[in-house]
């Protein structure tokens, strides 16, 4: 939070005035190399990197989601890519924090990295293997923006499933109650927390879909909780 996107200070000046939390946001690439070890059983990065269990991560900043030909991505990421999602610092940060909340059906079997400082380090490291690494940290794709992770207080709201059922009739104009997934994803039986995080991602305009941004944009925190409570147990 509070990171000024229009900052034009030089690297030196920046470090001279940076507060400790700021350096967290930018991250330490060398420390990130150590964090990456956890990823390296599936992903490779650097010279000669290839797709393995996961896609290679060269040029990940500025790449469209699901943007590598020849790698089989989940439907969720593929759809986001088609909707125009391009990876930048904020989006990667969010994805790494909780992959399933970001893309519900992601094939990345990784529970997520909760520590914001470690994520910043990791991303600083990966940023070396994307275009214009010399721009760090001023280049737009690198900068940390607002902290978008969903507040614990919001996650703790206990939704009323009955209210959720009424509100859900707005969702079922498009999302099939059978859970079918053709063209529009199924949302039946979603874990409530994933639902809440996903809806807030739309509300904050992190996830790119305009219909969902509009729908989520007018739901209050309580309404999102109510919908989450309903859909978690709804069945066809």
């Amino acid at each position: 939070m509070g990171w000024n996107r229009h900052i034009t200070l030089s690297l030196v000046a920046l470090f001279a005035t940076a507060s400790p939390s700021l350096s967290n946001e930018i991250g330490d690439a060398d420390k990130g190399a150590a964090v990456f070890k956890e990823c390296s059983s599936c992903h490779s990065v650097g010279q000669g990197a290839k797709n393995r269990v996961g896609p290679h991560l060269n040029g990940i900043f500025g790449r469209r989601a699901a943007g590598l030909d020849g790698f089989r991505y989940s439907n969720g990421l593929t759809r986001m890519g088609k909707d125009g999602l391009v990876w930048d610092f904020d989006l990667l940060d969010r994805y790494v924090e909780n992959p399933k909340a970001f893309a519900s059906d992601t094939r990345m079997a990784y529970k997520g990295l909760k520590d914001a400082g470690q994520r910043a380090d990791l991303l600083a490291y990966l940023r070396r293997y994307s275009d214009d690494p010399g721009n760090i940290p001023e280049a737009a794709p690198t900068m940390a923006g607002t902290d978008h992770s969903v507040d614990a207080a919001i996650l703790a709201i206990q939704g009323d499933p009955e209210y959720g059922e009424y509100l859900s009739s707005e969702c079922t104009s498009c999302h099939q109650l059978s859970g079918d997934n053709d063209g529009i994803p199924g949302i039946i039986g979603w874990p409530a927390e994933d639902f809440v995080v996903a809806m807030h991602a739309y509300k904050d305009k992190f996830r790119p879909h305009p219909v969902m941004q509009m729908m989520a944009g007018r739901l209050s925190n309580e309404e999102i909780a109510a919908l989450a409570a309903y859909f978690e147990v709804a069945g066809p």
Binding site: K82, E162, T172, D182, G183, I184, M214, S220, E222
Partner: protein
């Protein structure tokens, strides 16, 4: 039934978020369950019947009156004309509403409504009483709207604005056009059902002709100087069907039109043209049963946005195209959305169930050519005056092919979703 109080103390304006518990009204048909009669088994009526029956869990008797056994959705009927869908894929029957939701489906026309006695008379002679009546009869055409045309000419010059045999007829006529022939459309004035509908249709006709009859021409005579998704359609027409479509707006006489169905001619601004197919889409008004009920003001039936109740009779709710509600377009999506608000209000009035604040949404997808889909949508809230637009979006010109393809795929998902939300 637990009402979570905390829920309603959130940041939203108290009035807007508060649910109210109504006291059920004493009902007219004083023995037995309260009775709801729904007239019209289309987008609005089928949804309303299903939601009242489903959510009242047997506490309310629901009768749906609809003359046809198969309802053909107008939505996606243009895709049928374009060859992207089979006709039977847009047909829906009432079997599930009857068997799974216990809706009493009566295949007949409603011909009379006695508001004082709260009864509906059917063409077959039966009389049904109601506690609440839901009207979703769709549209009829304004007589004399297009000089030279009335419904008796709908075979020579189809409207195809009610789907089914009219769509089949229009498609057959397009396919039978002579090489280099002319397809003409007389577009309707506002307000009308499905604002992008005529222009999606033009796209689909062009798609067919480009493949089968590439020297054919398309003329659109339009009384409006702007139409829905105009920039998107015009961009698409240039891209896919360059030179084929001649859109004639009011500045060039598009509003001054007459037809001669016997001679198959169309006269625009005094200039007569011989045409091979003439798709006449006249000005529209609420389905006639609204007039018969005496609840129209001008061409449409005004409603209270919070509940979709008629402004003239609180025992009647009007949905969909027939209603005059404010900012929502006349679409299947809108009718479905309004039906759920009305169903909740009806249940609340008759059984005392909770009444939550009304919310409405709409999204209309259109197909311009294979895998080139676009959309426009908005969300709405009820104010005392009207259903008012809150927020909206529209596809952009110049979007890439991938995004347009996803948008089209999304529309297919939407069709499956909304038709099961209507018909079960």
């Amino acid at each position: 039934m637990k009402l979570n109080r905390r829920l309603f103390m959130g940041g939203v304006a108290a009035g807007a978020a508060a649910a109210t518990l109504a006291t059920p009204a004493a009902h007219a048909s004083n023995q037995g369950k309260p009775k709801v009669v729904v007239i019209g088994g289309g987008a609005g009526g089928a949804t309303a019947a299903r939601y009242v029956a489903k959510d009242s869990k047997g506490e309310i008797d629901v009768t749906l009156i609809e003359p046809t056994r198969s309802y053909y959705t107008c939505f996606f009927s243009n895709l049928y004309i374009g060859g992207f869908r089979e006709l039977n894929s847009i047909a829906h029957s009432y079997g599930t509403l009857a068997s799974e939701y216990g809706v009493n489906v009566v295949h007949d026309w409603a011909v009379g409504i006695d508001r004082a006695a709260r009864t509906v008379t059917l063409a077959g002679g039966a009389t049904l009483s109601y506690d609440r009546l839901i009207l979703s009869p769709g549209i009829d055409f304004v007589e004399g709207a297009v000089d030279g045309w009335d419904v008796s000419h709908q075979n020579a010059m189809p409207h195809a604005y009610k789907a089914g045999s009219q769509s089949e007829l229009l498609k057959a006529q397009i396919e039978a056009m002579p090489e280099g022939g002319t397809f003409a459309m007389v577009a309707p004035p506002n307000p009308f059902r499905c604002p992008p509908g005529p222009y999606e249709r033009i796209s689909m006709v062009a798609h067919v002709l480009k493949a089968k009859n590439p020297t054919a021409k398309i003329i659109v005579a339009d009384p409006k100087d702007k139409f829905s998704k105009m920039a998107l359609f015009q961009e698409g027409w240039g891209l896919h069907y360059d030179g084929m479509i001649d859109w004639i707006g009011p500045d060039f006489g598009g509003g001054d039109v007459s037809v001669n169905p016997d001679a198959m001619t169309l006269t625009i601004d005094g200039e007569e043209t011989k045409v091979d197919v003439c798709n006449v889409i006249p000005a529209m008004k609420a389905g006639r049963i609204c007039e018969i009920a005496g609840i129209t003001d001008g061409n449409w039936a005004p409603v209270n946005p919070h509940t979709m109740q008629s402004r003239m009779d609180e025992n009647i709710h009007v949905l969909g195209d027939a209603s005059q509600q404010g900012d929502m377009p006349k679409s299947g999506f809108a009718a479905n959305s309004q039906a759920k608000v009305a169903a909740m209000a009806v249940r609340s009035a008759l059984t005392g169930s909770k009444l939550f604040p009304a919310k409405f949404t709409n999204t209309c997808w259109s197909l311009i050519d294979s895998d080139d889909g676009v959309k426009v949508g908005a969300s709405y809230e009820a104010t005392d005056e009207k259903i008012a637009k809150v927020d909206g979006f529209i596809s952009q010109t110049g979007e890439d092919a991938e995004l347009r393809k996803t948008t089209y795929e999304e529309s297919i998902g939407w069709y499956a979703g909304i038709t099961s939300d209507m018909f079960g």
